[in-house]
């Protein structure tokens, strides 16, 4: 099904199942501990051995010798594969550093050996017995020190031909110089770790030259092609199975060392091998959200109209790596005639930076939305009103290109009303509640909606059960449930008549989970397949498909009616289709919007900040399932609290690694940090996004939250902090004296 004109009325609009608050169809499996996660799939293949990764002990240099004699002789050891004794693996299309290093070491904890043993403990103990001799080389680890020498990279998403340059609209410098009210400030965001609950884990088994991996991958098709490329085998010889994923946040978008090492270890041992990265290995072996240094300049007239906007961001990565595109949302969020955007990238020898939930927008809004708060204060203007005044309904770089739907102003107005924003005292440090300085802050939220091809296969059997098969993944988001709702709605059956099978590369390739594109695109693909199945059903029953109504397990056309199951009485009906997109995302800018409102208390003695209440108002197209969508948003709000107050991978700039590489050192919020959270979804359908008229929501909930917290802290204390996370030492000595 090609989607190239705005959607008209279609079966999804019945909203008998879609759009209804619906508990997860897989909830019972998860709450009873019977959902099969990768490392626990004891039943999929017999005789599983255990693998353990050895990571490099240095950040940069060469391995000259690996002595495995003691490890080989250790109890239970079946096989050892080292970087020096195996042909070099290829680099995947999506990887910057090799997933199996050596002799060159590109970063700390880069995989350099895998040990396979009868037990997990034996494999781990033997890995520690491998003696590695390194020649260290000096590395580059300090982004702040290297920022000045960072090179310009393209700040436009129109990639390809043009050389990197500063992106300009109008004349920024003269407009900024002429503006009566300006902000010019630099903000920093730290390296962050995904810290998902389930570590990277894989079971790998070979059958001749065919490889099966049971793993935890957000993008099954990418995992298949990149694992094949890395191992130099044919993609058709690789099967990926990833039905349940214990969180990813982008860390599992691409194949990681667990899959590569399990496959290499299984080959060497001649047995299936299971391997999980241990928690202390994850921060440095895998990927993280890169730190940024962002300079923002805003110029406005006295009535608050933005006349000049500049957003420049510097980040670092391994040679060949990508920048963090922290300027991206600023190109689209506010009007303003004169604009300048630049991205700079420094080469670092730290582990690979890559996508983490809302890459670009999340750190970008952390800076931009403080800058807007600073501008509002200089203008003596309400921060909500400043954003409303500068709303745009068109792409500011291409004024003839409207947004497909954009209710930012409604999000902000609704949020201000429901949160009691009018009670906020605009004068900082003027509200106290016992030991706490109390403040309110807000920020706009913005995240693009991406359209991606997505396929599915659906089968109707003689019992009237509709089975959906797609390689779509459920990373905790609720994919099983919204896909089941889509199939039930389209085929006119109840949820109890739908079975959803996900995450297997033998199934049609879906959008996968990432970039908040999974919900809208994967359900659109299922809708396309179901519409094809409806045709097959109608043909089988001798009905006119265009007039047939599918409802209550029956098919009705005119005065004729039949049970849906009758169509499959003799043989199951199978239909496969995909959604693919025309250029509606070029004609229209497709984005999602939010207003975030936060109240904090800052301990006037110790400077510790605790969030007191939070509200998000979201406009993100049709909400397919308000229950799972709300869970997405409150989880993202919690992540935003972490980004604002505590999350930071601490860099040892001398030795070149993230020091706090476990969950004791890298703190994420616990229940006690998260107060009551409210989420409001505005009633919206977007007929340019897909037949579902939905958009993404899973990342929107994060975008802007940290800045709202930061602005609330400023309102509480009167001390502006521009370096995240806002831990107590960032403002302690500027707080009012205590005795």
């Amino acid at each position: 099904m090609k989607f190239d004109t705005p959607a008209g009325q279609n079966p999804i609009d019945q909203l008998k199942v879609v759009g209804k608050p619906t508990a997860r169809v897989d909830g019972k499996l998860k709450t009873s501990g019977t959902a099969p996660y990768a490392y626990e799939r004891h039943d999929v293949v017999a005789n599983q051995a255990y693998g353990h990764m050895l990571g490099s002990a240095i950040a940069k240099g060469r391995i000259t010798r690996m002595d495995t004699s003691a490890a080989k002789a250790a109890p239970g050891v079946l096989a050892i594969v080292t970087a020096l004794d195996t042909p070099k693996v290829a680099k995947g299309r999506f990887n910057t550093a090799s997933l199996f290093g050596g002799p060159k070491v590109e970063h700390y904890h880069q995989a350099i050996a895998v040990v396979v043993a009868e037990s997990f403990e034996q494999a781990r103990a033997a890995a520690a017995m491998i003696r590695v001799t390194y020649v260290k080389q000096p590395g580059r680890y300090d982004l702040a020190a290297l920022a000045k020498s960072a090179k310009l990279v393209s700040a436009s998403s129109d990639e390809g031909t043009a050389p990197p340059e500063v992106l300009r609209v109008g004349k920024f410098e003269s407009a900024f110089a002429a503006a009566p009210v300006t902000v010019d400030a630099t903000y920093t965001t730290p390296d962050e770790s995904h810290a998902m609950m389930e570590p990277h884990a894989t079971i790998a088994a070979w059958n001749g030259d065919k490889l099966t991996v049971w793993t935890s991958a957000q993008m099954v098709a990418w995992a298949r092609s990149d694992l094949a490329r890395t191992l130099r085998i044919k993609p058709e010889n690789v099967r990926i199975d990833s039905p349940f994923i214990g969180g990813g946040f982008g860390a599992k978008l691409f194949v990681r060392a667990d899959a590569v090492l399990a496959a290499l270890g299984a080959k060497a041992a001649g047995r299936p091998v299971k391997l999980a990265l241990s928690r202390p290995q994850i921060a440095n072996n895998t990927v993280h959200r890169p730190a940024t240094i962002q300079r923002i300049r805003l110029g406005a007239t006295r009535d608050g109209t933005l006349t000049a906007i500049a957003h420049e961001s510097t980040s670092g990565n391994l040679p060949g790596g990508s920048p963090e595109t922290a300027q991206s949302q600023t190109r689209l969020l506010y009007a303003g005639a004169n604009r300048l955007f630049a991205l700079r990238l420094a080469e670092l020898d730290l582990p690979e930076g890559n996508a983490m939930r809302a890459p670009g927008e999340a750190p970008g809004l952390m800076a931009l939305e403080i800058a807007m708060d600073e501008l509002a204060e200089k203008l003596g203007m309400d921060p909500v009103q400043l954003r409303i005044v500068n709303d745009t309904q068109v792409d500011p770089e291409k004024p003839d290109r409207p947004f497909s739907s954009r209710q930012l102003v409604e999000c902000l107005r609704t949020g201000a009303d429901k949160f009691g924003w009018s009670k906020r005292n605009a004068r900082p440090a003027s509200v106290r509640d016992g030991r706490f300085l109390v403040g309110m802050g807000m920020a706009a939220g913005f995240r693009n909606n991406l359209v991606v091809r997505s396929a599915a296969r659906v089968r109707l059997d003689k019992d009237g059960v509709v089975t959906v098969e797609t390689d779509m993944t459920d990373i905790g988001t609720g994919s099983y449930t919204v896909i089941a709702q889509t199939a039930a709605e389209t085929m006119g059956v109840g949820l109890d008549r739908v079975k959803v099978m996900l995450g297997d590369s033998d199934f049609p390739a879906s959008s996968g989970s990432g970039g908040q594109w999974g919900g809208n695109n994967s359900t659109a693909g299922v809708y396309a397949a179901c519409m094809k199945l409806r045709e097959a059903v109608a043909t089988q029953l001798g009905f006119d498909a265009s007039r047939a109504v599918f409802a209550d397990g029956r098919v009705i056309a005119g005065d004729r009616s039949a049970a849906l199951a009758d169509a499959a009485r003799d043989v199951a009906l199978i239909a496969e289709d995909h959604i693919e997109y025309g250029d509606l995302d070029k004609q229209y800018q497709q984005s999602t919007f939010a207003g975030h409102f936060v109240e904090v208390g800052v301990d006037r003695f110790t400077g510790v900040t605790r969030v007191r209440r939070m509200l998000a108002v979201c406009a993100a197209g049709r909400i397919l399932n308000p229950t799972t969508a709300r869970s997405q948003v409150i989880g993202a709000m919690s992540m935003g609290v972490g980004a604002a107050l505590m999350e930071e991978l601490a860099v040892d700039t001398k030795r070149g690694f993230f020091v706090n590489h476990d969950l004791a050192g890298y703190e994420v919020p616990v229940h006690a940090d998260i107060p009551h959270q409210d989420v409001i979804f505005l009633d919206e359908t977007d007929n340019k996004s897909s037949p579902m008229k939905a958009k993404g929501v899973g990342e929107l909930g994060l975008c802007g939250v940290a800045a709202a917290v930061a602005n609330a802290i400023y309102n509480a204390t009167g001390v502006r902090v521009r370096e995240y996370p806002i831990t107590l030492e960032k403002h302690l000595e500027k707080l009012p004296a205590v005795t």
């Binding site: 240095i58 590489h661 004791a664 006690a672």
Partner: protein
């Protein structure tokens, strides 16, 4: 984890003897710290002597009616924090315990084990990095590395690690005593002030316990009265180690005792500083932290100690 042998001792003296005669042996109680360290090969005992059957799981009045309590070494943190006598007469201890770890960990963690928990310095936890506490003579990575959590006072050129616990800080302010037994049956009573060491040139030695010496109990002297406060400052609201903590017992006349956690290799108490309590937090903090040598990363702990003391004193006055 390296292979090890295991036994369950039947008496305290037997346990001490078993550890004393077996090179590389360690006691194990709740195991909440030791097992983690064994998995990472930071601790590599060859033999474990389990002390759960020694009958050290009671909280009893001290003989002679002095008004104090004897806390068995194996009493869990949960049990201790919930004990009516502790809650009534030693509130600072109950509060410190409940500020530590998580409910699950407190159920397993014991009184003696809590005293013996090892530092949480991230370099101690990473066996690729030099660390004088883990591998004597290799150097201190933290001194030139990331040190936000680490010590500001009492540290040395060899080590800037902190004692990470909360319970010991409260015990320090209460002047608890650690009771031990050795393989030959000899017993000792070590004042808590002398139990944890400063790192000096031998940071791998955390305490003044001798080889094979087993903690059997911690005793608390008679109740002090006053207002008991434990204020733990941390980035997140629960399940985090202290940046700074203050254990305090403040009397109605404004006199009292304070001990500080999170800033040194041992709970930090300077009795002379307490004399200055009536003069306010600044005076106390200045005396407490005389000679402090913070790093760039943890210099904030110096003003934080003062402000946390001010908070505790305001709480004691009832006007925070």
């Amino acid at each position: 984890m390296k292979p090890f042998t295991y036994e369950r001792a039947k008496s305290a003296t037997d346990a001490a003897a078993a550890v004393a005669r077996t090179p590389g042996a360690r006691f194990i109680a709740g195991g909440t710290n030791l097992l983690d360290l064994m998995k990472l090969q930071i601790e590599t005992p060859t033999h474990l002597v389990d002390v759960q059957d020694l009958g050290l799981d009671r909280i009893e009045p001290i003989d002679g009616g002095s008004g104090g309590l004897r806390i068995g070494a194996f009493v869990s943190n949960t049990t201790l924090a919930a004990d009516e006598r502790i809650r009534r007469d030693y509130g600072v201890l109950a509060r410190a315990l409940l500020a530590g770890a998580s409910g699950q960990l407190r159920n397993k963690a014991t009184t003696a084990g809590n005293l013996l928990q090892r530092t949480r310095c991230p370099y101690f936890y990473d066996t690729n990095q030099p660390c004088n506490k883990r591998a004597p003579g290799t150097g201190c990575s933290a001194l030139t590395g990331y040190s936000r959590q680490l010590a500001v006072i009492g540290s040395s050129a060899a080590c800037i690690a902190t004692h990470p616990g909360d319970m010991a800080v409260a015990m320090r302010v209460l002047d608890a005593t650690v009771e031990t037994v050795k393989a030959d049956g000899a017993t000792r009573a070590v004042p808590i002030a002398d139990f944890h060491r400063l790192p000096g040139t031998t940071p791998h030695v955390d305490t003044t316990l001798q080889a094979g010496e087993l903690i059997t109990a911690v005793t608390l002297p008679k109740p002090l009265g006053g207002t008991h406060i434990y204020h733990k400052v941390r980035d997140r609201a629960s399940y985090a180690f202290a940046l700074v903590s203050v254990a305090a017992v403040v009397q109605r006349d404004g006199s009292g005792r304070v001990a500080i956690g999170g800033i040194a290799h041992k709970p930090w108490r300077v009795e002379a500083a307490e004399q200055l309590l009536p003069r306010g937090a600044k005076a106390v903090a200045r005396r407490l932290l005389a000679g402090a040598k913070p790093t760039r990363d943890n210099a904030f702990k110096v003003p934080l100690v003062e402000r946390t003391l001010a908070s505790v004193m305001a709480d004691a006055r009832g006007d925070a």
